[in-house]
Point group: C2
Chain length 418, copies 2
């Protein structure tokens, strides 16, 4: 395998141009690009122009997913393509790499392949999925779920934002409710480059990671119901304090996750990230606490074990503290393994390019989860400064962007060569 001659300057130009859409006047490099917004239209227009500049044929599907297709002169135009890409939408006040790095590195990989004398037998597609973050029309991974056949397009289109605007209306207004067809199942393989969002590559002093598994995620909504009472007039012995009970629950989840890590499931995490106390006044014993629980691991059995620990904690607290509880496992996305063939192509491309790589799992969800359910999928991670993401402080050095793009291009070349 030959090292790919990607051009870091072109990639940087694209990412910086894209960063201007929805840019925030804050310290760092921030942008807010919600799906279907004006900033999202600008970013999409820029991408489409750049894809077409590079000779790709662009189509947009009903939920606004964008794909640009390049058929190399040596390729069979009807062969299943190798696809790469990510997303252009951001969380509010997000960073400039989370998503765009994967889209524009895909474009840069195509441009570099076009410039080199490589005999590719498959078309290459560069893809941008709609509403990966799920901020406006929730849930996340919305566009990829439709393209992978996991959700009907009309269901996604009828989802509404906080103001009651449907995704369909928003996409129509920005001109991206298309009639094209983007079917993940028709791809031969998929490889997405994304920022790592944690610190393992920094710790290992390596620029690029090859993802082995993407963690599963389950979210559970928990309600703890006690009795609101006057903080002064209610003796300690007569309280049913919903917050004290919820505090035990938080610690039970934490220790349950720690136990799983100690027994070898090092990807297991359990987080109570959201707590709403009612009535939430200093001088009132809390009567109700609503809790958002996030559980992840690369093994679904381990996830289920931690869910079970959480449920047992609530049962114990009902008995010991006289509270009532509800437990709703709102959604459950099973872990997925990345395809060995794609991982191997990525690792070999790193070796060929002289870019150090390591294997790691993804603790965050990505469009590649839905893609992996219907075709051979892989992911690359580029080193993130201090693991910061979803923040204007998110940063990946340009040299790391270039190195990761070189690995991406090499792996795509390998996958597209039968």
């Amino acid at each position: 395998m030959e090292p790919m001659d990607v051009t870091g300057e072109r990639l940087r130009e694209d990412i910086e141009a894209n960063a201007a859409f929805g840019a925030l006047d804050v310290e760092g490099h921030g942008r807010t690009v919600l799906a279907g917004s004006e900033a999202n239209r600008q970013a999409r227009d820029y991408l489409v122009n750049r894809l077409e500049d590079a000779g790709l044929t662009v189509r947009v599907d009903p939920v606004g997913n964008i794909a640009g297709k390049w058929v190399p002169a040596t390729a069979d135009a009807t062969a299943e393509p190798v696809a790469t890409g990510s997303h252009l939408d951001s969380v509010p006040a997000g960073g400039i790499f989370d998503g765009p790095l994967g889209v524009f590195s895909g474009l840069e990989a195509v441009r570099s392949l076009q410039e080199q004398d490589i005999s590719l037998s498959r078309p290459i597609e560069v893809v941008s999925f709609t509403e990966e973050e799920g901020t406006r029309f929730g849930p996340g991974l919305l566009g990829s779920s439709v393209a992978a056949g996991a959700r009907p397009a009309h269901e996604a289109l009828h989802r509404t934002d906080d103001e009651g605007i449907t995704l369909e209306t928003a996409l129509t207004e920005i001109g991206y409710q298309g009639g094209g067809e983007i079917e993940v199942a028709e791809w031969d393989a998929w490889l997405e480059l994304h920022v790592e969002q944690s610190e393992r590559l920094e710790a290992a002093d390596l620029p690029v990671g090859v993802v082995t598994d993407i963690t599963g995620i389950t979210h559970c909504n928990v309600t703890v119901i006690g009795e609101a009472n006057h903080a002064g007039a209610t003796p300690m012995g007569q309280r049913t304090d919903a917050l004290a009970a919820a505090s035990e629950f938080v610690l039970d989840v934490e220790s349950g996750a720690n136990d799983l890590v100690r027994s070898g499931s090092e990807t297991a995490v359990g987080t109570v990230g959201l707590v709403e106390v009612s009535p939430n006044a200093t001088n009132v014993v809390p009567g109700k606490v609503e809790i958002g629980l996030d559980i992840r691991a690369v093994d679904h059995g381990v996830m289920n074990a931690l869910v079970s620990t959480a449920e047992k904690s609530l049962q114990r607290l009902e008995t010991e503290r006289g509270i009532e509880t509800t437990f709703d496992r709102e959604f459950d996305l099973e872990p997925v393994s990345m395809c060995t063939r794609v991982q191997t192509a990525a690792t070999q491309a790193g070796d060929a390019a002289g870019v150090g790589t390591m294997s790691l799992h993804s603790g965050a969800a990505h469009d590649s989860m839905y893609v992996a359910n219907v075709t051979d999928a892989g992911m690359l991670f580029a080193r993130s400064k201090e693991g910061i993401s979803h923040s204007p402080r998110e940063w990946t050095d340009w040299a790391d962007c270039e190195a990761a793009t070189a690995v991406l291009a090499g792996a795509i070349a390998e996958l597209a060569t039968d």
Copy 2:
């Protein structure tokens, strides 16, 4: 001592008339009467009319406290008066007895004394203090703090509500920024009737309580600072979870209070009633938790011991969890004992009226705390259904209102007789 012939019907008529001001169309008996509001003006006008109907001379002081003075024919008009009363303002969606019972029972006590052949040597004053609840212009006990000399009038008048309106402006608009003088220090004694707000009288099957002490209250604002991080990408071992630390703190406060109760300080209570988590998203490890802590006991040393327990908990958590914390003891109202002379008069009045009484402490703050710092003060409690207060579900049976008013009238007669 003769039993007083109070008229429950007249008292009920006044409380029900007052309940119409700011009345809520909800189940139960609710009202919202914030200090200085239009509903508050209506309630004040009604009170002033009823005081004047009964021949009392009304004055209003600069912070809107109202006092009606009755000089019995047998009394020395220049003698220090015996005063009684409470407040007319409510919390949002409060009940109809909390405050008004004390004001209108004072008026009814005067009316019944006027109708009976008792030789009183002191004038009687019926008082309504401004902004007891502290909902609009905070802190609570505002009017009594001024009348008792603990706070300059201008400081109270310059306090603002959430819209920037000063108490002075609000009182001027409703016509209750007066020029009269109400000086608690010039009263010979004070006795306030209030609903109990807890269930001890119900448990003892007694209509009236004689308060021995009013609990001290301290509020502490606590901040726990950890590190916000991606719930998926941050392994358990690399977290500084502010909520997990805060959960330990909540439980340390609870067990610290329970320990004090077990060792004999049965009035000690410690409550974390308020918790604000940042960023408060299910998929983000909490970076910061702001906590409102309420500590009370009838012994200031016991309160300080629990504050110390809370501070030690934070020190331990800083060491064990790597969090940072801040601790601000925002205010500290020391406990006060009720005057023995006033308690005795109340207990004897109960015996004379054939009304069963018991001694108990107040776990809630009342205007009587400030009054007690400058004159002989006491409180009576009337039985509350299920101890519910600050709610449209607050209720005290009319028979209990009448019984408590009979005790109040008898005690006032005793205190006003040299």
